[in-house]
């Protein structure tokens, strides 16, 4: 694995508060790292320190070769251009030929269900749609490093799936991915390693030891409700430990219940 970035004793203080404390880490090409944790723990800061958008108070970030970073922020800001014009300008700034950029924008906007809104002024787009423009600008041309700061905020489920697929494709092509997120579903789908930042220190994220699942079931009204089941709209919700699922779910299915959804609780 080729080393591309070294974090050498990185410390970052804002006022009197130390957000990052002497962090040392080496990142290799194709790594996909996620930073999880509560608001203000330093997830976004570490992303910006890695990209040299924020200067550390102490320590240094070393790039072992020149790197092209692309960034998807949590809230993508609008500018006074249409989405198409903005993306074309970004393509030109990345050194893409006009026809190449046009083709790529068409493909990506179809993937993200954005074709009909491409000519709308960005200032009139909804938050979720703007976020899609933010995603497309970042993957228009393949970067060396992709920084994702809560990239899915406001996006619909179908676009989220497309996004996860695209990021995984890029990672297979050798793009290094850094993700700061609350959504563990995204972390599990994208990252190879996950870290939390506690008291300014990087710690390997350990997921909940006994995972629980939320199962949505639909019945015809005659079935017996098992203990712990609660009503949720037209469905019933059941919280089950992983070990219980294999035994209980077939039993419920045989009683006439139908599974309408299942989700790991920590996602």
């Amino acid at each position: 694995m080729t080393e591309i970035i070294t974090l050498d004793h990185i410390t970052k203080r804002y006022g009197g508060r130390t957000v990052l404390r002497g962090i040392c880490h080496t990142i290799c090409r194709g790594d996909a790292l996620a930073f999880v944790g509560h608001n203000g723990c330093g997830k976004s800061t570490i992303l910006k320190v890695i990209a040299k958008l924020v200067r550390p108070t102490a320590g240094k970030v070393i790039y072992h070769s020149p790197l092209l970073f692309h960034y998807i922020p949590e809230k993508f800001p609008p500018v006074s251009l249409s989405a198409r014009e903005y993306l074309l300008r970004m393509g030109a700034l990345s050194g893409m030929r006009q026809d190449e950029a046009v083709h790529r924008i068409r493909m990506l906007s179809e993937d993200f269900f954005l074709e009909e809104l491409l000519d709308s002024p960005m200032q009139s787009l909804s938050k979720g749609t703007l976020q899609k423009v933010g995603v497309i600008q970042a993957i228009l041309k393949r970067p060396d490093v992709l920084l994702l700061d809560e990239p899915l905020s406001g996006q619909d489920a179908a676009s989220q799936s497309v996004f996860i697929k695209k990021v995984n494709q890029l990672q297979e092509e050798g793009v290094t991915v850094f993700l700061a997120a609350h959504e563990l579903k995204l972390v599990h789908a994208v990252a190879q390693k996950a870290y939390t930042i506690k008291d300014g220190l990087l710690a390997v994220y350990v997921p909940q030891e006994t995972p629980f699942y939320r199962v949505l079931l639909e019945g015809n009204g005659t079935e017996k409700e098992p203990e712990g089941m609660t009503r949720q709209g037209r469905y019933h919700k059941l919280r089950l430990a992983e070990a219980e699922c294999d035994g209980l779910l077939p039993k419920l299915l045989s009683q006439g219940w139908k599974i309408r959804g299942m989700e790991r609780e920590d996602t």
């Binding site: 990209a51 040299k52 251009l81």
Partner: protein
């Protein structure tokens, strides 16, 4: 170089598609239309007034230029061009291009009047040196004004009311700097930081033979002031932001 051009192209498109340029544009056109509404017009004095107008309007435009900037969008652009030098050079080139575009009106409006009146618009026959004067003086004054307004960037002076007052003060002092220094000589030690715009009124004085040299010197001085302001602003922004 290509990325600088692309970045300045992007900055200009965003600027001209926003409402920020509308008022400076209207003020320039109205002022020039009034200035060139009756004839005969003195070339020397109308050119000097146009220089002061373009300097003031571009200082205004330079001051409002960064108000549409968003930190996150700047970070995206900064990473995309991979270099602080390219990023800030691109912004400075965009400002210079806006200055050239605006100064085009300073040439276009009297030029149209001159053509409409069959060359009998000014108080004397216009010469090639007058066109040269307009081509050198107007963009130089515009750029120096834009760079001066841009120097008071939100990162340099976050308090915007104070920045707008300072912009107005600097513009006025630049225009009256010559007479002030003659009255109070020690002000020269302070006022060298302001661009020598007041020289537009005196550039025609002296022998006609030396006019091209005076124009070139004046252009170079204003251009240099503009470049220095852009460099200072860029360095402050670079070191204060990250």
């Amino acid at each position: 170089m290509k990325r600088i051009v692309e970045l300045s192209n992007y900055q200009l498109r965003v600027y001209f598609k926003s409402s920020r340029f509308v008022m400076p544009f209207i003020v320039t056109v109205v002022f020039l239309a009034v200035l060139y509404s009756s004839r005969p017009v003195s070339i020397e004095s109308s050119f000097a007034l146009t220089c002061f107008l373009l300097f003031g309007v571009m200082a205004w435009a330079g001051y409002t230029f960064p108000s549409g900037e968003d930190t996150v969008m700047e970070q995206i652009l900064f990473l995309r061009v991979k270099s602080g030098l390219i990023y800030y050079a691109g912004k400075s080139v965009a400002l210079a291009a806006a200055a050239v575009l605006l100064s085009g009106f300073g040439i276009l409006i009297p030029g149209v009047q001159w053509l409409l009146h069959g060359g009998m618009f000014f108080d004397r026959a216009a010469e090639v040196s007058d066109l040269l004067a307009a081509l050198l003086l107007f963009p130089a004054c515009s750029f120096a004004g834009g760079a001066l307004g841009g120097l008071l960037h939100p990162v340099v002076i976050p308090e915007r009311k104070c920045a707008s007052l300072l912009t107005t003060l600097f513009v006025l002092l630049s225009v009256i700097r010559g007479p002030l220094v003659r009255e109070i000589p020690f002000l020269r030690a302070l006022f060298w930081v302001l661009p020598p715009v007041e020289g537009a009124a005196s550039v025609y004085m002296g022998t006609q033979d030396a006019l091209p040299a005076r124009l070139t010197g004046y252009f170079a001085a204003l251009f240099l002031y503009g470049v220095v302001y852009c460099v200072v602003k860029s360095l402050i922004c670079f070191y204060k932001k990250i």
